[in-house]
Amino acid sequence: MSEKITFKELVEQISKQSEQSRNSANSFIHELVQIIESGLSANGSVSISGFGKFELRWMNERSGRNPQTGEEITIPGQNKVVFKPYKALRENVNRPYAKMKAQILGDAQPSTSIPEQDEPSPDPLEEDIFGENLSEHDSNEENPFIFERSKPEPKKPEEPLFSEPEVPKAKELRPEPQPVNVLSPADEAELAKEVEKNGQMKWAYAASTIVVALALLIVFYLMQNTGEPADMAFESTPDEQIESVQQPQLAMMERVNLPDETGDISGSDSYHINQGETLWSIAEKELGDPFLWPWIYQLNKDSLENPNRILNDTDLTIPSLSNPENLSSDQKEQIALGYLSVYEWSQTHQPDEAKFFLWAVGEFSPDILDQAAQQVDSGDLAFAKIR
């Protein structure tokens, strides 16, 4: 940060706090500085409790170059003044981040663990800040999908007639073994900005940053995958053609699974959609986990045309679920089927994103993914298999 206060302001603050005149505060600091200087010159170190330690460090003679002429010169040995902040200062300075812990993202090797196991932190602040940080591209509602448990975002005001869940974008679905994709340096820069602006950022600005971040990610991903043309997210036309053939089959397959489903749900409730709600928000409110929204979609597929856009004032069937942390395998299958339905829908409407939903199918239930393997696009399947 480049913001600085002047010495005058500093003296003013000190004099106010210590109830002394500005003059005496000023001279006090000057004395302090002189003592530090003489202390450094006498002992080579000055320690100020609760703040830090000033030290002299001897730098040996080394060779360097004159940056202007390129001429080689010898830089003579000299003292360097270094400042080492003490713990108290480090902690004080890091207060905004103190509640944040390192989040484990996944194994380097393929793992079978399901992200649901991540403990959502009990502390709202932690989730908050970190969520924001994590989600460089989903700091809006665009990712019902990210499994890193980023913070569900504040809902933006929506048009009165419709409620829409975020366009499912699911960049985070990217398998962890390819860290480059998930967090490219460019994104990190993006992210840094967001950390700073946290909170005050205007939606419009957020949206544009996200779009940029998403575009970067896609480009990155494509560059990495040039060897697998089937995976190209932009080749939507072939996908669509295949899709039209596949859809009936897919639909049939799901119908076969459907009887199971109704039996599995321990009970289901009716839910009245209010203004401004999305499947994502409903899933968060009713099921306790926004990532389960495709489940609701699955149960209401007949009445919902577009999972991104749900009509105000309609009733939904909602599965009742007491503990989102502990899903039974049947329930996971239901959710996987939900994601499969969303995948199916996405293939026609947003082919670029479809494969991420397929990936999630495998995340909840590898069996369902295997069953569906025949009917889905091979490129998408290859992507979905990456863990």
């Binding site: 940060m1 913001e3 600085k4 206060i5 010495f7 500093l10 603050q13 000190i14 706090q17 210590s18 001279s27 006090f28 000057h30 004395e31 302090l32 500085v33 003592i35 530090i36 200087e37 202390g39 010159s41 006498a42 080579g44 000055v46 320690s47 100020i48 409790s49 609760g50 703040f51 830090g52 002299l56 001897w58 000299q78 003292n79 003044v81 270094v82 400042f83 200062l89 004080n92 300075v93 890091n94 981040y97 812990k101 390192a102 989040q103 484990i104 993202l105 996944g106 194994d107 380097a108 090797q109 970190f130 940080n133 994590l134 962890e176 998930v182 990190e188 820069a189 992210l191 950390v195």
Partner: protein, 97 residues
């Protein structure tokens, strides 16, 4: 020079009682530290400039657990000595390593 010596000298030079000198030093330090914790740089003439730098969230790899982690952001305090201080101490006590 340790903290005690510093306070002793400070009391001597300013003519304040030691307790008072200590208190003032603590206030000075707390003001500096407060500003820094807000991400505001502070420059002290004759001494140097304190600034902070935010180390961003980054992805790290723990080779022992074979896991990737998101490391939270961190703020570092940086100090760059003023030209005067640097110049005066540059060739002091060349023997000490």
């Amino acid at each position: 020079m340790n903290y005690k010596d510093l306070i002793d000298q400070l009391a001597e030079k300013t003519g304040l009682p030691k307790a008072k000198a200590k208190e003032r030093l603590e206030i000075t330090v707390s003001v500096l530290s407060e500003r820094l914790s807000e991400g505001v740089g502070v420059s002290v003439p004759g001494l140097g400039t304190f600034t902070t730098e935010v180390k961003d969230v980054r992805k790290t790899y723990n080779p022992h657990h074979k896991k990737y982690m998101m490391t939270p952001p961190k703020r570092l305090v940086q100090f760059s000595p003023s030209a005067g201080l640097k110049g005066k101490l540059k060739f002091k006590g060349e023997s000490n390593e």
